[in-house]
């Protein structure tokens, strides 16, 4: 049971005078799927961005796959190549084709040959269901397709961990499902995932544990069953009643 690949101990983060994270504790085991939810401004994005050090935490410890996140540049590079990240606004590189978006990092960071990288990219595009879009540019794709390219881009580095920051909240309703389907398949394949989302259908389907964030703290944590059927905290109940009715 206990084989943590991510350990966060009392992680704190300030933006100037404002404390965005007030001591977050979380241990994630290999293959676990974690869903983080909570009101806007509660620090969900800030927290998952500290895990691949896009944000720098100021106190506490973050250990990923046995390596502690410090200012050591080599550690950061090593950890980033083990963690894939998918953003709310896709953040695809608009000047590069879909194929180039996916192969850029494998070629320059993993030092694969171009042919090798393109072959794997093509396989990934098939996996996310858009093999025919390889030579288009991001601007020529729908939102759902762009997000699936972004997932393929992250997977191309063969990460051990995938982070998702509200991957479907910028999408039109009819495209949400195509992205969630890819994520569910990924979860079932055994990927370790931390997902910030308010898509409760996803949480019910594949989450192992859920964390409710509010004001920079973890207010409540438990299995989806615990959280949906038997929430302990008033704030959790209130928030759930708001998102489940709308």
């Amino acid at each position: 049971m206990s084989d943590p690949i991510i350990i966060c101990r009392d992680v704190e983060k300030w933006f100037g005078d404002f404390q965005a994270l007030k001591g977050i504790n979380m241990e994630v085991n290999k293959g676990e799927v974690i869903v983080i939810f909570g009101p806007s401004g509660s620090g969900k994005s800030t927290f998952i961005r500290t895990i691949n050090r896009i944000e720098v935490h100021q106190r506490g410890q973050i250990i990923v796959d046995g390596m502690e996140l410090t200012h050591d540049v080599r550690n950061i590079a090593a950890i980033r190549s083990e963690i894939g990240m998918v953003f709310q606004l896709f953040n695809l590189f608009p000047h590069l084709s879909v194929l180039q978006n996916i192969t850029l990092a494998p070629i320059w960071v993993r030092k694969w040959s171009k042919d090798e990288a393109e072959e794997i990219a093509q396989q990934l595009l098939e996996r996310v269901g858009i093999p025919e879009q390889a030579y288009k540019f991001p601007g020529q794709l729908s939102g759902g397709q762009q997000q699936r390219v972004a997932i393929a881009r992250a997977l191309a580095m063969q990460p051990k961990i995938m982070l998702f920051d509200e991957p479907t909240s910028a999408l039109d309703p009819e495209m949400i499902k195509e992205v969630l389907d890819v994520m569910i398949e990924l979860a079932q394949s055994g990927m370790t995932m931390i997902v910030v989302t308010h898509e409760m259908s996803f949480a019910r389907a594949v989450a192992d544990r859920m964390f409710f964030f509010d004001e920079g703290l973890v207010v409540e944590t438990g299995t989806p069953d615990d959280i949906f059927k038997n929430p302990q905290e008033d704030r959790t109940k209130l928030f759930l009643s708001q998102i489940l009715t709308t």
């Binding site: 961005r49 691949n52 896009i54 590079a77 980033r80 190549s81 963690i83 894939g84 990240m85 953003f87 606004l89 953040n91 695809l92 590189f93 608009p94 000047h95 850029l104 990092a105 320059w108 960071v109 601007g139 881009r153 992250a154 191309a156 580095m157």
Partner: protein
């Protein structure tokens, strides 16, 4: 949400003009009410009278002798006539590489190659006096046409990579100065001091050299200005703001005179090179500010995504930030280069015989020419206009090719 403004169907009569018959287009756009009709007639009338006056002046009144008397002066100045083949060979290299670039990259390079070919063909067959009319010089020009085509054939071949063509350009641009300047007396290439160079040759050396050198320097300064290392940042800010606060003429004076005063004679840098340094640092400061605008326009999410896939800072800058930043500021940068091109005329003040200065000295060379300033200046202005226009044409083509403004 952005579609809200576009939901109404477009009215039928604002279709692009190209889809309408000419007569219909004229009716709808020029004579659609009495006021427009009057304006149209007035405009046509003025165009007719002004145009007629200009043509009459150009063909009957104007005395073009200062231009036609010895046109080769406008091209190369006092470059020794028995060494002109070296200029011809440099031109040949450029033609060949332009042809290769056409074969390799097609698109805008094709337009460049064709324009170069047309320009040289005109120079080759135009009736001209002096040495420009000589058979040898005509052959120098016309031989470039097969060179362009040969380059095209070679550039279209599979094994010629883009890197190879770029290397060819780089090599030629480092070779041409030696070819023109020479390797010393008694060698195959006797020295031709740059004080003998002149005309379009010098204008183009200053413009092309200035552009090629100031662009990378400007990009580095723009990046330096955003650097997290205080020394680099301060240096960049100091350089950019220092240069931008000073007129180009002053910089040219300083680079010419002060450099010459302070360096020991054996280290003396050539006069033309000093002017080129002045132009380069001036243009680099402005390029840096343009590029900075582009850098600021790249969304933070792009850099985050690049880091998240594991690219280091250098790779992120090279592959993600710069391409997007530069693409956004092509119009501004080309505008800057056009200014630089026209500003080459300012090297007159350090007594370099670029195109305009040649025109002036031709005027003074003969009492009969003294009254003909207008003709000479019109001619020089026309040359500048054509070349500047080509640059802005190229910029627009480049923008479309790279999809600037599309998202």
């Amino acid at each position: 949400m952005t579609d809200a403004g576009n939901t109404q169907p477009a009215p039928a009569d604002i279709r692009p003009p190209s889809q309408l018959k000419p007569i219909v287009w004229v009716q709808r756009n020029l004579f659609n009410n009495w006021f427009n009709s009057v304006l149209t007639v007035l405009a046509l009338g003025s165009i007719y009278f002004i145009g007629r006056a200009v043509l009459e002046w150009a063909f009957f009144t104007a005395d073009w002798r200062p231009v036609t008397h010895n046109p080769i002066l406008y091209l190369v100045g006092q470059y020794p006539r028995d060494q002109l083949w070296r200029v011809g060979a440099s031109l040949l290299l450029v033609s060949f590489l332009t042809g290769m670039s056409w074969g390799k990259w097609k698109g805008i390079m094709r337009s460049f190659a064709l324009l170069l070919g047309i320009g040289l063909a005109i120079l080759g067959i135009i009736p001209a006096g002096g040495q420009l009319g000589s058979l040898a010089v005509r052959i120098f020009f016309l031989i470039n046409l097969p060179a362009i085509y040969l380059g095209y054939l070679l550039g279209s071949r599979k094994f010629v990579t883009g890197g190879l063509v770029l290397a060819g350009w780089l090599l030629s641009f480092s070779l041409i100065p030696f070819l023109l300047r020479g390797t010393g007396e008694g060698t195959m290439l006797p020295t031709v001091e740059t004080s003998m160079w002149g005309g379009l040759l010098v204008t183009l050396i200053l413009a092309v050299g200035g552009i090629l050198l100031s662009f990378p320097l400007g990009v580095l300064l723009a990046l330096g200005r955003r650097s997290s290392l205080p020394v680099i940042k301060l240096f960049s800010i100091g350089f950019i703001e220092g240069i931008r606060g000073v007129p180009l003429v002053t910089i040219l004076f300083m680079s010419s005179i002060i450099l010459a005063l302070f360096l020991p004679p054996e280290l003396r840098i050539d006069r033309l090179v000093r002017a080129l340094i002045g132009m380069t640092i001036f243009s680099a400061a402005y390029t840096a500010e343009n590029v900075r605008g582009g850098l600021q326009a790249v969304p933070a999410g792009q850099i985050e995504a690049a880091k998240a896939v594991g690219l280091n800072n250098f790779q992120t800058t090279l592959f993600i930030v710069l391409p997007q930043a530069l693409r956004a500021v092509i119009p501004a940068i080309v505008g800057q280069f056009i200014s630089l091109f026209k500003d080459t005329t300012l090297v007159i003040i350090v007594a370099i015989n670029e195109l305009l200065n040649i025109g002036k000295s031709i005027l003074q060379s003969d009492v009969e020419f003294l009254q003909l300033q207008f003709e000479v200046f019109i001619f020089v202005a026309a040359v500048f206009w054509v070349l500047s226009y080509l640059m802005s044409f190229a910029s627009r083509r480049l923008e479309t090719a790279l999809g600037v403004g599309e998202r």
